[in-house]
Homo-oligomer: 370 residues x 2
């Protein structure tokens, strides 16, 4: 049976499509790989550009199949393209769109989901690690600017921070971060977390309003490079002024948990074992995890995840990922503890897995009080 | 047969999921709508936050179905959720992921693709039009800053533009635009087009390097609001210094084509008829469209597309969209002509369709030479 790999997606947001073609197209187009021969089918509008830019063997203008066809209707020509190439079975990524799959199924094309679609994406090449590090350097310079502003701010009587005469807010810090990103050809297409006090106990709460002295401030930021297309991911937790003894205790436990995870990571170790080890550490240090008054508290997210062309990709460091880490994996290490009434703490670095350990790609210092 | 609407997606990038839930979650979660009752199923980590934020009837923590389950594996619990609710058939959006569809099909759940999934998204409410306009105002203030810089630049002997002693580039203009966006809570997750000279003949070429006097410069920019989540879309074509007679002729034709389209648009008119009208206008004015030396030239993209939570959404103004425009549609009107050796011209406004015409949401002036 003649088989092919098939992707239909845009390449500005779908990272498999970008990985396959190396060029940016904002609307869905077709990628077909037959015996390692890579073919792109694209419309009139993009044809000239994509023929020059795409890192594939052949670029075909699909208007020859049906003039006037567009991206909303090209399911119809898909079958002709497959039959021209004698394809009876296709392998598609997990996020392959059902509207296209339906056309395949209705026409008797065997369709199999393959995940991960490009296995090689899980272990990064030296060049990929460099690209991620490049974005991380920019992330760190943005953090530095943001934290400097918080450092320079004054504490008002009501514990709000004042900077240049104005109340310092999550929103303002977000703008400082983003200005540094856009000046360096990066952007953020996920919410930028700058949360404070009660907001920090929800790990993905973006945060809003005034920053408060003595409360934990979580900054978790995932810039993406417009040019090299890779993400970086870093989290720091700080307190302006004096932190409470409870926050300090949590911070130290999270920092220690991160050290443990970092010391365990190496090629060949099972990801779920690292996660269990961190759960155990928090448990035995007296940091309980569970539902309380309808809200989770303690340590209730994964220890880490892969970072690359997607910000959350394989491998995972959690209970369900019962596989070994491999040399070249780039993963976050981000334990966290969250207790309503006290606050949340998360510290996140990115590392690349090596044969005997890991190399930390994050150089930003860790401290609580500023 | 008991039926439900089903979405499984993240809501930072999937606009149906955002439309359904009104809250931002960076990873896939489950939305189920049974007889207008809206239920979200979500993991431990997001539960507390999403329960507060989601505009739905009920938020359920799916860890009760299987502790430790995560987003990579929750296809497994999907069937339990559906069976608990007695669901035998689901309606899913066109971009429903095949990896989840496979679980449904393997378990005998009838699965039907519905496009558009939320019909009401095609015609915008007054509030939605206001949100889009808000983003458009920010887009215009960014264009103003960028064009001012081009205006202030000097023309060097080699026709490159000099600003503050440096060669003015696409990249620099992009940063000016983005700084204005991030200062106003917007971001760009699609390539920002600032192309010049030969690059302008490929409509989606982002552009790079020095801007050149006397050549057409196309700026096509689609900021998205981080807060209200809507896009705007605008294109202007300018020439620094003197434009050639050929560019002027093209510019005037495109401007006239846009006027024609704007004057035709109203509730009840067929979208494809408007597109054909513009094709005909260009043809009879002597602007030929077709393949030349393996490259399309003339007018070879659609006249417009819907704008909303997605930058390209229904309705379309092209040959394949053989439906009537309706009151409340927000569409772009963006004819363009592209001739290698001369250059490209595109002018794009956004309008809201009304009963007897349309209201232009774009207030930015149109001029060629600056």
């Amino acid at each position: 049976m003649r088989e092919a790999k098939l992707i239909i997606a845009d390449s500005e947001h779908d990272s498999n499509m970008y990985y396959a073609t190396g060029c940016l197209v904002p609307d869905d187009f077709i990628y077909l790989e037959i015996n390692s021969k890579k073919i792109v089918y694209i419309d009139d509008m993009e044809f000239g550009r994509v023929r020059n830019e795409a890192l594939v063997d052949k670029v075909i203008n699909y208007s020859k199949y049906s003039p006037g066809i567009d991206r909303d209707t090209f399911g119809r020509i898909l079958i002709r393209i497959l039959s021209d190439n004698g394809i009876e079975k296709v392998y598609v990524p997990g996020n392959f769109k059902m509207k296209y799959a339906k056309v395949l199924l209705d026409n008797g094309i065997r369709t199999e989901v393959v995940e991960p679609f490009f296995k090689e994406r899980i272990s990064k090449s030296k060049e990929e690690v460099e690209k991620i590090s490049e974005v991380q350097r920019i992330n760190e310079s943005a953090f530095k600017k943001a934290i400097t502003v918080i450092k320079k701010s004054k504490i008002r009587k009501d514990r709000k921070l004042i900077y240049n005469g104005n109340v310092l807010t999550s929103e303002f810090i977000r703008i400082i971060l983003q200005k540094e990103f856009v000046a360096n050809n990066c952007f953020c297409d996920y919410s930028i977390i700058v949360s404070c006090a009660d907001d920090t106990v929800d790990p993905h709460e973006a945060g809003k309003g005034a920053l408060i002295a003595g409360e934990s401030i979580i900054m978790d930021v995932v810039p993406k490079s417009s040019s090299n297309r890779y993400y970086s991911d870093m989290t720091r937790t700080i307190v302006k002024g004096k932190a409470s003894p409870e926050i300090k205790r949590i911070y130290n436990a999270v920092a220690e948990a991160q050290m443990i995870a970092l010391s365990e990571i190496k090629s060949g170790i099972r990801a779920d074992h690292i996660h269990k080890r961190i759960q155990k550490f928090f448990d035995s240090a007296g940091f309980k995890t569970g539902m309380k008054k309808g809200k989770m508290q303690g340590f209730f997210h994964s220890t880490g995840h892969g970072v690359g062309l997607d910000v959350h990709e394989l491998p995972r460091i959690n209970l369900n990922y019962q596989k070994e880490l491999e040399t070249g994996n780039v993963v976050t290490v981000e334990p966290g503890l969250y207790y309503p009434g006290i606050g949340g703490v998360r510290i996140e670095d990115m590392v690349v897995v090596t044969e005997h350990g890991c190399k930390n790609l994050t150089h930003f210092p860790k401290y609580l009080e500023i």
